[in-house]
């Protein structure tokens, strides 16, 4: 079989099997387990098929295009080390499937279980055969995901849900950290390919990013392998069905972490940082796990902590700067898988047959299930490191390493053998507790079920595993020797150190240590008898240091208190602070850019400041300040002051010889002020709820802060304007227009020529927009009559209504304001003439259709203001819509006419015409266009203002009146 096909099948078969099992009906227990078993055995066969290549030191490798643009291929790579793991995964997988077939109740949705289990198996295989680090992370996270599903399989129990969530949170987060680390490694090496990474050891260790990469990767490995301080998720994961525990926590999931550490050992180990992080975590976990395990009352809890401790042992071995320690670690991985898996299965059998896993309730099971008891005893003895069993061999190697290894600090070296012996003694004690507690003593009478031997098929996996423990323990070199050699070769390449796999190495120091540990463990157990029978939960001394509780507290803190506090501190739902933030940051960003780049005045010479203009500007500034100040207290005053600011701007325009702008500014200023006032009528008065205000100081501070922001923004803008205006501008459009205004547009008023000629098309578009806006405003406000309970009739209107109630309603204001009323009536024709004047001369001198239109609108507005809507409309027939329509038609018509002369749209014709009385008048066809603009501006302004103004008429529409109907027409 070609390598690529073999490897692909190895990874894909479990997933396909998972899919097939998942599609089975809920009750199809036999079919699902059949599929799972077949897949596991097939995988084992595939692994075996790779043996010839791997045993000769070869590496199977296959690449498939995946994301070629990113340089990422699906690379599968099976070397000796991966081969060993793949064998463990599929071999133990097959045993677990067989066991689970009998363990799982037919009431559970078993096909789902096998689907998850197979998918997990596939993910785990994926981790070990990944030839690419990103792909490794990918499968790594998949294992987290499927273990989550497996642990939470019995999701109706709270323990399973919490356990699953905690496992996923910790291992998933660790996986993301690993991802970060892998990205860094990829950056250092320049490739994610495992072969490339493995051959770049020196480059990685010497790179400045080595430490962050190391920390992130170690985080990933430690969380996965349940190492201190992330060990707490593992005991909670014991809520999973026992086959899951047997599989995940002996041979697969938790071994992924140590797999990764061993995989990267050649390139990352050997530094002090490695020894400190990995070694220290391993040492702590080794002791802590073993210590806590003694005091567990739950069989599976005991096994969980013992798993943590043994993984700590492996991690510690990997953390030592010694290749022999690596050999010991790999050897222990195999041994631990064998005995721990069988112990979990035994615990599951006990649970299954008795209905409880509490060591204090179990007793004397040796009577009812003698065969299981024998098996468990052998496995536990292997775990305790009793000679002639496999656990003993790797423990001896560990002791030997503990005595000789180099450590970064010498005190650690002295501690190491002691710690090793202590942990070993603990492990003897908890193994004893497991055996003694469950199988010896008086026969328990109050068990939920009557215990008996399990189905023989269920026991078969345990028998196989225990047999392995014994055979390996007796004849290590003949049985496990070649496989271990392959795996070690896979990690270390050709420089494998000499090691000897033998039961008897002579009477040496490690053996003495073993004996001491054995004796110590037995003594410890005897001493603790009294305490262990009691109802005290958890280990003495460190009971309060419950990592799980700390985890929960941290989670609650993070998820609740910190998040809440941050939100109240940093977040707000109020508009004002949000606005403040944007303005403030905009200001800071601008200032920052200036500060970084330096920003001085430009090269243009400065002209002296005219004192009169300065005075005018000071007046303007005073107006502006007054507006800001009054805006809060007196809106009308603020609007008037704002008008003052506009006036000063207008004068400035005149000052700098821009009469055209000044004119436009003036008319626009007038109209907008009127608009503002009309709108302000409807705003409620400023009100204060008694007692709702903070102290006066706060208010003042707030206002001072606002002032500071305003001053800052103003200064910033002023500085920018200054800088811009003191520079020679780049070639802008202005010069283009200045040159061509007369020669091509026939006008000396450049602004007007631009508007009606050069950019006539834009203007046409704009007037259409203005028309649309006017119509929309009208449509919106035509019926605007706020509900009585939402907005009151404005105070001003109520006063007026009160005054006119008993009066003749038709001519109210004329009686009040007789002089202004007369004046405005007199002024009206004058203003119209001014408008015509502005209109006609617009092409050459300041003026134009827009200004003229505004002037007419202002003239009519004056009549409205002084005379009132009713009087004005009784005397003037205003048809804003007609003005609008006529304006648009004239303007577009001018453009279209050009077509008849074979010219593009809006081409202008230009000449001077002699008019009687007025003299020579420029009559470009643009003038007609300008008339269109004029008409439109009149119509649009009136339409909007009338729509607003009529609210006052509509306020008391209840009284039927003659003028009211006319107002409706308009």
């Amino acid at each position: 079989m070609p390598d690529s096909l073999l490897l692909l099948a190895l990874v894909c078969l479990p997933f396909l099997g998972a899919l097939a099992a998942g599609l089975l009906p809920t009750r199809a227990r036999d079919a699902a387990s059949g599929i799972a078993g077949t897949v596991a055995l097939a995988c084992l066969g595939l692994v075996w098929a790779a043996y010839p290549t791997v045993s000769s030191g070869g590496v199977l490798r296959a690449e498939f295009a995946w994301m070629p643009t990113l340089g990422l291929n699906l690379t599968l790579r099976l070397d000796g080390f991966a081969w060993l793991f793949a064998g463990l995964i599929s071999g133990i997988g097959a045993l677990v499937v067989l066991y689970a077939r009998y363990y799982m109740s037919s009431d559970d949705p078993v096909p789902r279980f096998f689907a998850f289990l197979l998918a997990f198996m596939g993910a785990m295989t994926g981790v070990v055969v990944s030839g690419n680090l990103v792909q490794l992370v990918f499968f790594w996270e998949l294992t987290s995901l499927f273990s989550f599903l497996l642990i939470g399989y019995w999701h109706h129990t709270a323990a399973a849900r919490d356990g699953a969530r905690m496992a996923l949170t910790v291992t998933g987060a660790g996986g993301l950290a690993l991802f970060g680390g892998v990205l860094l490694i990829g950056h250092i090496v320049g490739s994610y390919d495992l072969d490339a990474v493995l051959s770049a050891g020196d480059r990685i260790r010497e790179h400045p990013l080595y430490l962050p990469a190391l920390i992130l990767i170690v985080l990933g490995a430690l969380t996965k392998s349940a190492q201190f301080p992330f060990h707490f998720w593992l005991p909670h994961a014991m809520a999973a069905p026992t086959p899951v525990s047997a599989y995940l926590h002996s041979a697969t999931l938790v071994k992924a972490g140590v797999f990764l550490l061993a995989r990267l050992w050649p390139v990352m180990a050997g530094t002090d940082a490695w020894a400190w992080t990995v070694g220290l975590a391993g040492l702590t976990t080794l002791l802590l796990g073993a210590y806590i395990a003694i005091f567990q009352n739950d069989l599976k809890g005991l096994l969980a902590y013992s798993t943590i401790s043994h993984l700590g042992l492996i991690t510690l071995l990997l953390g030592l700067k010694s290749e022999l320690a690596l050999v010991a670690a790999i050897f222990h991985i195999i041994n631990h898988a064998a005995f721990k898996c069988s112990l979990f299965m035994a615990a599951g059998i006990i649970d299954h047959e008795t209905g409880t896993r509490d060591i204090r309730r179990l007793s004397g099971l040796n009577q009812s299930m003698p065969f299981t008891a024998r098996l468990a005893m052998v496995a536990a003895a292997a775990m305790a490191g009793v000679p002639l069993l496999n656990g003993f061999l790797s423990k001896e190697m560990f002791f030997a390493e503990a005595l000789t290894a180099e450590a970064p600090l010498s005190p650690l070296l002295n501690i190491l053998p002691l710690a090793a012996m202590l942990a070993s003694a603990f492990s003897v004690a908890y193994s004893l507790r497991f055996i003694h507690g469950a199988f010896f003593g008086p026969v328990a009478t109050d068990l939920p079920r009557t215990p008996h031997e399990p189905a023989s098929w269920m026991r078969l996996p345990v028998e196989i595993l225990v047999l392995t423990c014994i055979v390996v323990g007796l004849l290590p070199a003949a049985t496990v020797g070649p496989y271990l050699a392959i795996a070690v070769h896979g990690v270390l390449g050709d420089d494998v150190p000499y090691y000897s796999l033998a039961v008897w190495h002579g009477f040496n120091l490690p053996l003495v240590m073993s004996l001491i540990a054995l004796a110590g463990g037995v003594m410890l157990y005897a001493l603790l008898q009294q305490r262990l029978r009691g109802d005290v939960e958890g280990p003495p001394l460190i009971r309060r240091l419950d990592a799980q509780r700390i985890f929960e507290q941290v989670m609650v803190f993070l998820s609740w208190r910190l998040a809440r506090r941050l939100e109240t501190l940093l977040g707000t739902r109020r508009l004002q602070p949000q606005l403040r933030l944007i303005v403030g940051i905009g200001l800071l960003a601008g200032a920052g850019a200036v500060w970084l780049r330096g920003f001085g005045p430009g090269n243009l010479p400065s002209t002296p400041v005219d004192p009169v203009l300065a005075l005018v500007w000071m007046v303007g500034a005073a107006f502006a300040l007054g507006t800001a100040w009054q805006a809060k207290f007196h809106r009308l005053a603020a609007v008037m002051l704002l008008g003052g600011v506009g006036l000063v701007v207008c004068i400035t325009f005149v000052w700098f010889s821009a009469p055209d702008l000044a004119l436009t500014q003036l008319t626009v200023e007038v109209v907008t002020t009127v608009l503002l006032v009309l709108g302000l009528r409807w705003l409620p008065k400023r009100f204060q709820v008694a007692g709702d205000r903070g102290p006066e100081v706060l208010t003042r501070t707030r206002r001072a802060r606002d002032l500071a922001i305003a001053v800052g923004a103003g200064c910033g803008l002023a500085a920018l304007s200054y800088a811009v205006m003191t520079r020679v501008p780049p070639e802008l459009l202005a010069s283009h227009f200045l040159e061509r205004a007369y020669t091509e547009g026939g006008g000396t008023n450049v602004v007007n020529v631009i508007l009606v000629d050069f950019r006539g098309f834009d203007t046409l578009g704009e007037i259409f927009v203005v028309a649309a806006v006017a119509l929309t405003t009208y449509a919106l406000l035509r019926r605007f009559r706020p509900a009585a309970d939402s907005v009151e009739i404005p105070e001003q209107q109520r006063d007026q209504d009160g005054a006119t109630q008993h009066d003749d309603a038709v001519r109210p204001t004329a009686d009040w304001l007789l002089v202004p009323f007369t004046l405005t009536r007199l002024l009206f024709p004058v203003m119209l003439v001014v408008a015509v004047f502005l209109m006609l001369r617009g092409h050459d001198l300041p003026g134009g259709g827009f200004s003229a239109g505004m002037v007419v609108a202002i003239a009519i507005l004056l009549q409205y203001i002084i005379g009132g809507a009713a009087w004005t409309e009784a005397h003037l027939r205003l048809r804003p819509q007609i003005w609008l329509g006529a304006g648009l038609l004239i303007a577009s018509g001018t453009g279209i006419v050009a077509w008849f002369f074979g010219r593009p749209f809006l081409t202008t014709y230009f000449a001077y015409a002699e008019l009687p009385l007025i003299g020579k008048v420029p009559t470009a066809s643009a003038l007609i266009f300008d008339i269109g603009v004029f008409a439109l501006v009149v119509g649009a302004t009136l339409l909007m203002l009338v729509a607003l103004a009529h609210q006052s008429v509509r306020g008391h529409r209840a009284a039927p009146r003659r003028v009211g109907s006319r107002a409706g027409e308009a």
Binding site: A65, W66, M67, T69, L70, V134, V137, F138, E141, L142, S144, L145, G152, R161, R165, T169, G172, A173, G175, L176, A177, F179, G180, L183, L184, H187, L209, L216, M555, L558, S559, W560, L562, A563, L566, L570, G571, T572, R573, L575, Q578, L579, L581, I582, V583, I585, G586, A589, G590, A593, V594, L596, R597, F599, L720, A723, V724, R727, P729, P730
Partner: protein, 473 residues
């Protein structure tokens, strides 16, 4: 003048007007017909966008290239899905007025103009057309106080941001003498000569755009608007406009200001960093799922900007891939949110999803897939988006950014997983109303993409690659 290049935009503009006509003239409710017409217009425009020739038109105001093609197709998909999601919801909430699809068509038109803009003018026109339409749809449920507030708030803040953008644009014009992207780029080809006024202008442009993509510290409006607006509107907000704004960001910084990368890189690094961290932490405490998704979207913008911060070809590619994936998975997640109705009323608290696995397993599974994907857990699509941008950042030497990104995705995984936990493990809060087929369709399509992206990522990545090549030219 080659108006063929603007064909998708023209089609949308005309369809918008036509749909307006369809809506106004008959006396009966034409919401459904208008919505369908809008979807049709989107699909037609997408087809035209795919086949559009390359070049620039309207005096260099707009361009059409691989980048615009990529962005436009994404935007149109997002917009079409947005309309589809609104169909049932609007009918039940009494929002089934024809103006809704019309506004979405105009908003989408604005987005298309934005991404094909090659001039500060057309950029602004597109941006404002989009924004103005969005202000209105945010307040579409005008009888609802929260919706009205959302619209108003968005308008006030958005207007401010637009002002800053305009100010920046005018400074840029003032110092370079042109608004055309190509010519600005020419003027800046020697970055050392770029005057500081121009840098200030660029900073203001960035501020304005950062507001539009809701990057921290211009994010404040996002949770409020997402929460207040009707859910389909929120779904629309979170999808197409995000892509358009990010696309615009990439275009502006990669094109005209491309040679000033040294200047803007730090700014983008900063806002990306802040967005990721804030998005991760602020979402944890949220109980309203729409607010939560708002913070999540802020975080995702942060991740996408990591790609921009890298200021390299790989980074831009990562950005585009990220946005494509984000768009598609987000649509699915919002389809779930739109489907959250109980006894005829829309519900939007995280607890309302409790026990969903037992009442509606398929929806719970889809949602779980979206949440896992957003958390960046393989093999789902979200993981690849993150991988692309983080890899680019590390290659560009921004490894702090990449590591903070990875760590903040660890934090954000926490709240995504909380939703999964609530759905699968909590006691059911009562069954949700049966969901309409339209929503299920969006959910399933998005879910299938999210799940199976890893099998065949090449087409999307290749399209992004071509787009980047066009962008950086």
């Amino acid at each position: 003048m080659n108006w063929i290049l603007a064909l998708p935009e023209l089609v949308l503009a005309l369809s918008g007007l036509a749909i307006l006509g369809i809506g106004v003239l008959p006396k009966r409710n034409t919401h459904f017909a208008c919505a369908m017409a809008a979807v049709g217009a989107f699909l037609l425009a997408a087809a035209l966008a795919i086949g559009a020739p390359e070049g620039s038109a309207f005096g260099g105001q707009i361009v059409s290239d691989a980048f615009t093609r990529f962005a436009k197709v994404l935007i149109l998909i997002g917009a079409a899905a947005g309309v589809v999601l609104s169909l049932d919801y609007n009918a039940r909430e009494g929002l089934d007025r024809f103006e809704y699809p019309v506004l979405l068509v105009f908003a989408t038109l604005g987005m298309l103009v934005m991404v094909s803009a090659n001039d500060l003018m057309s950029l602004y026109i597109g941006l404002e057309l989009l924004s103005l339409s969005l202000y209105v749809v945010a307040a579409f449920n005008r009888d609802d106080e929260r919706s009205a507030e959302a619209g108003l708030k968005y308008f006030v803040l958005g207007a401010l941001a637009s002002g800053l953008l305009l100010y920046g644009s005018s400074l840029t014009y003032g110092f370079t003498g042109t608004t055309n992207f190509d010519r600005i780029a020419d003027a800046l080809s020697d970055p050392s000569k770029a005057s500081s006024g121009l840098v200030v202008g660029m900073v203001f442009v960035i501020v304005g755009l950062a507001f539009k993509v809701s990057a921290v510290p211009f994010h404040m409006w996002t949770p409020d608007v997402y929460e207040g607006a009707p859910t389909p509107v929120t779904a629309f907000f979170a999808a197409a406009p995000k892509v358009a704004a990010i696309g615009l960001f990439a275009r502006v910084l990669g094109g005209p200001f491309g040679d000033l990368a040294g200047q803007w890189q730090q700014v983008i690094v900063l806002i990306s960093l802040l967005s990721m961290v804030l998005g991760a932490f602020a979402a944890i405490g949220q109980s309203n799922i729409k607010r939560l998704m708002a913070y999540s979207s802020i975080g995702h913008v942060g991740y996408a900007l990591v790609g921009l911060a890298a200021a390299s070809e790989a980074g831009m590619r990562g950005l585009l891939v990220y946005m494509a994936i984000y768009l598609l998975m987000n649509l699915g997640a919002f389809a779930v949110l739109v489907a959250m109705r109980r006894q005829g009323r829309a519900v939007e608290r995280v607890e309302d999803l409790a026990g969903l696995a037992r009442t509606d397993l398929s929806m719970a599974v889809w949602m779980a897939i979206f949440m896992f994907s957003m958390a960046g857990i393989p093999p789902l699509a979200g993981f690849f988006g993150k991988m692309f941008v983080f890899k680019a950042a590390i290659d560009a030497g921004l490894w702090t950014l990449a590591i903070v990104g990875v760590l903040s995705s660890v934090v954000s995984a926490f709240y995504y997983l909380r939703i999964v936990k609530v759905m699968f493990f909590d006691e059911p809060a009562g069954a949700l109303d049966p969901r309409p087929a339209s929503v299920s369709f969006v959910m399933a399509a998005s879910g299938v993409f999210t799940t199976l992206f890893f099998l065949y990522p090449a087409p999307l990545v290749a399209a992004a690659q071509a787009a980047v090549a066009a962008l950086l030219g």
